[in-house]
């Protein structure tokens, strides 16, 4: 195995737990250049991890804008909830009225059927 072939595998091989072909391992164990290359990748990963503790300060007002957007979203949600409650009440009232009207119509029809016909 040549160093050029190993170089293609090292960006993956540097991950802990990543399976690496035995031939690659054997080459790295006996090749100082590839060991140095692997060490570079280890150094790179270590340096990348430390970037996590390097915070970037947002411009002033970012927090306020975010909280305002959340507030607006909350208000919209509350309005929707109120409106959906009213919609339910309207639907309930309409349903009730329809039932009442139906009952009244049925009662009238029943009363007409029972009422004696006037002799003509």
């Amino acid at each position: 195995m040549r160093c050029e072939d190993v170089a293609l595998i090292l960006p993956r091989a540097v991950d802990v737990g990543e399976p690496v072909d035995i031939a690659v391992q054997q080459h790295v164990n006996t090749c100082l250049a590839c060991q140095a290359e692997l060490a570079r990748y280890h150094k790179l990963l270590k340096a990348l991890r430390t970037l996590r503790s390097q915070y970037l300060m947002p411009a002033p007002g970012t927090l306020a804008l975010t909280l305002a957007a959340l507030g607006e979203s909350g208000e919209r949600q509350a309005i929707r909830s109120v409106l959906s409650g009213r919609r339910g009440a309207y639907i309930g009232a309409l349903g009730g009225a329809a039932v009442a009207a139906g009952a009244a119509a049925a009662a009238v029809a029943f009363a007409r059927r029972k009422a004696p016909r006037l002799a003509g």
């Binding site: 960006p11 540097v14 570079r40 790179l44 390097q54 915070y55 970037l56 947002p58 411009a59």
Partner: protein, 188 residues
């Protein structure tokens, strides 16, 4: 109130508790958003959108992962859709130097500050120079330690594709930071 208590309260619909979570986490969220998008304006939009999405979804947060990890995933997803949506006509050369950097470790160990600062400046610049697709993966995996599966899911790509992009990104960073000079690699 601890973060766990705030999360529990927010899950119950307490918006003030959620706003406190925003105050505690927004610098970290902004940092990730900036690293993913590469510019301040997009990063601010991503932060807002991330918290709006998080507020809508907080009832579904089961606590299997840390709140910050859950938030990172939403940030990654939001940044991905934002950058895809954006018309990339805006030139990246309009960069105004970026936001102010605060390195927590510098306060803990001032002697290491000079060396660490130089290293991080070079590395951060090299990461920022990566193409967006490669940058996103290396930021999420190697800086924020998200698993490949989570990254692939949030970006809508396969795990294999995520790994290939990661290895390409590492190779590019290696080439930039350890530039070979006559067979001898220059240290970071």
């Amino acid at each position: 109130m601890s973060q766990e208590e705030l999360v529990a309260a927010a899950r119950g619909g307490d918006q003030q508790a959620f706003e406190e979570l925003v105050r505690q986490t927004y610098v970290g969220t902004y940092t990730l958003a900036y690293r993913l998008t590469g510019n301040e304006e997009d990063a601010r939009d991503v932060v807002q959108e991330t918290y709006l999405r998080a507020w809508k979804a907080i009832r579904r947060f089961r606590g299997d992962a840390q709140f910050s990890t859950w938030l990172y995933r939403i940030t990654a997803n939001t940044a991905s859709s934002t950058t895809q949506r954006r018309n990339r006509s805006r030139s990246e050369s309009l960069d105004d130097g970026g936001p102010e950097v605060i390195d927590e470790r510098l306060f803990a160990n001032p002697e290491a500050s000079q060396e660490a600062s130089a290293l991080h400046d070079r590395l951060a610049a090299a990461v920022a120079e990566l193409p967006p697709k490669l940058r996103t993966i290396v930021v999420l995996k190697d800086i924020y330690d998200l698993p490949h599966e989570a990254i692939a899911e949030e970006l809508g790509i396969s795990v294999a594709a995520a790994k290939v992009r990661l290895h390409r990104a590492r190779k590019r960073l290696r080439d930039v930071l350890f530039e070979d000079r006559g067979g001898v690699a220059r240290a970071v």
